[in-house]
């Protein structure tokens, strides 16, 4: 168990993480399992009982989620509770422990909750298809490389869901139950909670399993949907892993290109040409990919595409103000500093350092950031290769 004991926060944040291989044959079942795990337990055998217990324990929060890390998926259970010295109740910690024990060791899985989970997941998946931005993103990831992990939808898919059996989920639960957990704790020290967490079988080792998506060919797709504006998603291969000397330059590249409002895409496409409200780039680091997304007018799409291409070329040719590079470096340093005020970000950073076997100090990291140059960023930009381009445009469904 990794502990960060601090009295800075009102909440105690706990993360219990299990890592599994990301597999298209099981990811939908994991989504159903997650829903079932959070529904009820042996002692709190209805939604009402569980809700009452959580609310009574001063709004204790439990959340389950699935996050992709390259070839792996993390199934997370997060607990959040107010530190005990802020609560004037002698039984408060007992209540917390009771709920945590039941959630961790005695979930109640039955056919009713299985059917409910399927129904809820179906609604969610349909909703994602309904939203033009989500639709463009899911199609672009699938088109990028159908054989790579990037194409596996982390929320599952409707076809697998309809074929899913109750027994499949029970089998998966056995695997989950027997998998060692990685446990992180952040907040006011509570020895009784430490004792409980130490009872959980811990993961013996964790390893990073990632493979950068390869440069193959570029795929294009245009879909029509009745929507108010056009969504465009572009996926690029970066061919840059965490171990690459170009990793920090890639972070700076993303910042300069479109991570935030001080970036080339924001400045050129939004501010100078007024072609959109929202445009951004982001990294899918564990797959070695970079994504650009924008919402614009259908008649402006060609101009937007041209401007995006031009901004990447500007980075390749180091044709942008030095101040943008300096801001990117400051942003990167700031990003790590800001994590110190956010328990969940601290836990995530801790996990990444473990997974990637990173032992660099803050000073070493800042030194690495300081050494980023326009030349190195241009090298990273030269490696960008467009894998997929998906447009969901205004019009009648086809």
């Amino acid at each position: 168990m990794e502990k960060i004991c601090t009295d800075k926060f009102s909440d105690i944040s706990i993360l219990v993480r299990s890592l599994f291989d990301l597999d298209p044959n099981t990811i939908t079942a994991y989504n159903v399992l997650v829903y079932m795990l959070k529904s009820k337990t042996e002692h709190f055998d209805s939604k009402q009982k569980l809700a009452l217990a959580l609310n009574h324990a001063y709004g204790m929060r439990i959340s389950y989620s699935l996050t992709g890390y390259g070839k792996q998926v993390a199934l997370d259970v997060r607990f959040q509770c107010i530190r005990s010295d802020y609560i004037s109740s002698d039984s408060y910690i007992d209540e917390i422990i009771n709920v945590m024990e039941d959630i961790l060791f005695r979930p109640l899985l039955d056919e009713n909750s299985f059917e409910e989970a399927k129904y809820m997941l179906k609604s969610r998946l349909e909703r994602l298809e309904e939203d033009p931005d989500s639709l463009a993103l899911s199609r672009a990831l699938k088109l990028a490389d159908g054989d790579h992990d990037i194409s596996i939808p982390i929320h599952g898919d409707l076809a697998s869901l309809s074929a899913l059996r109750y027994q499949d989920v029970l089998d998966l639960y056995q695997i989950y139950k027997n998998t060692g957990k990685i446990i992180f704790y952040c907040g006011h020290s509570e020895p009784r909670i430490f004792n409980l967490l130490e009872k959980i079988p811990q993961a013996k080792k964790i390893e990073n399993k990632m493979e950068c998506i390869q440069r193959k060919s570029t795929s294009y797709l245009v879909l029509k949907k009745e929507c108010a504006q056009t969504s465009l998603v572009l996926i690029y291969a970066t061919s840059i892993s965490f171990q690459s000397p170009l990793y920090y330059p890639l972070l700076a590249l993303n910042s300069i290109l479109g991570q935030g409002p001080v970036s080339l895409l924001f400045e050129e496409v939004r501010e100078k040409h007024s072609l959109c409200y929202s445009i951004s780039s982001s990294l899918i680091r564990f797959d070695g990919a970079l994504m650009i997304s924008v919402g614009t007018r259908k008649d402006a799409l060609d101009q937007v595409l041209l401007l995006i291409h031009e901004q990447i070329e500007r980075i390749v040719h180091m044709d942008y103000p030095d101040s943008l590079l300096e801001i990117a470096k400051k942003d990167l340093k700031d990003l790590f500093l800001r994590q110190k005020d956010r328990p969940n970000s601290m836990l995530e950073q801790h996990f990444l350092d473990m997974l990637l076997r990173r032992e660099e100090s803050e000073e070493q990291r800042n030194k690495a950031i300081d050494s980023i140059s326009k030349f190195l960023i241009a090298q990273a930009a030269r490696q960008l290769f467009l894998l997929s381009s998906v447009v969901v445009e205004e019009g009648e469904d086809v």
């Binding site: 009295d7 009102s10 209805s46 001063y58 107010i82 007024s274 929202s278 400051k330 340093k333």
Partner: protein, 414 residues
């Protein structure tokens, strides 16, 4: 006890400064807010009545990011600070956060909000950006449903107008519309500066006082919103539209009587929120039945808003069982039973915890403190309101409200 300290001071120019110290935190956040927003369509200032175009406050917020010919976002970024802004119906606020020194970004924040630097070209350029923002919200079915419910409820009240205005408003707003709006509303007398920081508050206050010395108030009295008379009846009881959705969306809203006193507004809001948590969530054993019968899905919710000029309660869901959902809402509203004391006790704890958590959220805390001042109530006292409620009081509040004015909106798959 909660790892924070407050300091408040009204400056010579009328600006109010509220500083909150959060020891050990790396970040600082400073917010500069004005009591002006989407509601400011008709306003009175210095005995004159002005009519603004819908969306003026929001359009101006976008334009404010220019200062001395530069984009302030870039200037903040050079100081290792990030900036943002928002416009609600009754507030507009600008803020930055940083892990670095605060003096320069603080100076920039106070300078750029107190200097208007726009021209016809910059106003023109913003039009396409705001039109794209409008389109983005327009294609979101939940946001569209809520927007149409407000239009259904209100005939005259500016709640019926989108904070961004209509597309026609966005197309027609001109430089002078924004400039005159700015002159009337962006004055130190109407400004609240909220800081949340780990730094020494006395020093921060001195710095703000120093900067504000060069910005005297230029207006005699603050502009006030004029709310037109609003009939008790809803503007339209049923409305439907089509969108490219898989399942229908349905929303049911009840137009309620506003409360005259701000503390009553807060109390009614709180009582209704607790009631909604008790009856329209997992605390209600029937909630499971509604899921089993597929009357509700993950996309469902309810919200309440009591203020001195409007009040409403709304329920919404994405569901195939539209008639069943309508019946469900009707039965909840008609049979307003007392909340079970055990459920009430647990929800009271939850509400107390929410207040404690708010104190750790820099942006949320600054917004709530700003809102409290603009609406003229004491933020810290408002956190204690939960202690004045019990099941009887909640029941008394629910029983005193007239739910006769109902509006329904449906979005069907096209």
């Amino acid at each position: 006890m909660f790892n924070l300290a407050f300091q408040t001071k009204k400056l010579k120019n009328g600006a109010l400064v509220i500083l909150i110290q959060k020891p050990d935190y790396v970040q600082s956040l400073f917010m500069c807010g004005f009591g002006v927003g989407g509601f400011n369509i008709k306003e009175r200032s210095e005995n004159m009545v002005y009519e603004n175009k819908g969306g003026c406050a929001h359009y101006l917020e976008h334009q404010m990011f220019r200062y001395q010919g530069e984009d302030v976002t870039d200037l903040f970024a050079k100081m290792q600070a990030q900036t943002n802004a928002f416009t609600s119906y009754s507030e507009t606020a600008y803020y930055f956060y940083t892990t670095s020194e605060i003096e320069k970004p603080l100076q920039l924040l106070l300078d750029f909000v107190q200097n208007l630097d726009i021209n016809a070209e910059s106003v023109e350029k913003e039009r396409g950006i705001i039109a794209s923002e409008f389109a983005m919200y327009e294609q979101n079915p939940e946001m569209r449903l809520i927007k149409e419910l407000l239009v259904s409820m209100y005939k005259n009240h500016p709640l019926k107008v989108d904070i961004l205005g209509s597309l026609d408003d966005i197309e027609s707003i001109q430089l002078e519309d924004l400039a005159s709006f700015y002159r009337r509303n962006y004055d130190p007398k109407n400004m609240v500066i909220v800081g949340v920081t780990g730094k020494n508050l006395d020093e921060v206050l001195k710095e703000i006082e120093r900067i504000e010395e060069k910005y005297p108030s230029k207006i005699g009295e603050r502009a006030v919103c004029i709310f037109p008379d609003e009939p008790k009846e809803v503007a339209r009881s049923k409305y439907s539209l089509e969108m490219d959705v898989v399942q229908p969306y349905v929303g049911i809203a009840f137009k309620l009587e506003p409360k005259e006193n701000i503390i009553d507004c807060l109390l009614y809001d709180l009582a209704f929120s607790i009631w909604l948590d008790a009856i329209f969530g997992p605390s209600n054993p029937k909630y499971q039945t509604w899921i089993d019968e597929k009357i509700i899905t993950q996309i469902c919710g309810a919200e309440v808003d009591f203020s001195q000029d409007h009040a409403y309660l709304m329920f919404y869901a994405q569901t195939e069982k539209i008639e069943e959902f309508k019946k469900l809402v009707d039965s909840l509203v008609q049979n307003r039973e007392k909340i079970d004391p055990i459920v009430f006790e647990s929800l009271k704890h939850q509400s107390q915890a929410r207040n404690i958590r708010l104190l750790d959220r820099f942006e949320g805390l600054a917004v709530e403190v700003l809102r409290a001042h603009i609406n003229r109530y004491d933020f810290l006292e408002s956190l204690q309101l939960i202690d004045s409620l019990d099941t009887d009081k909640v029941f008394e509040i629910l029983s005193s409200v007239d739910f006769s004015q109902k509006a329904e909106v449906m979005i069907s798959p096209s």
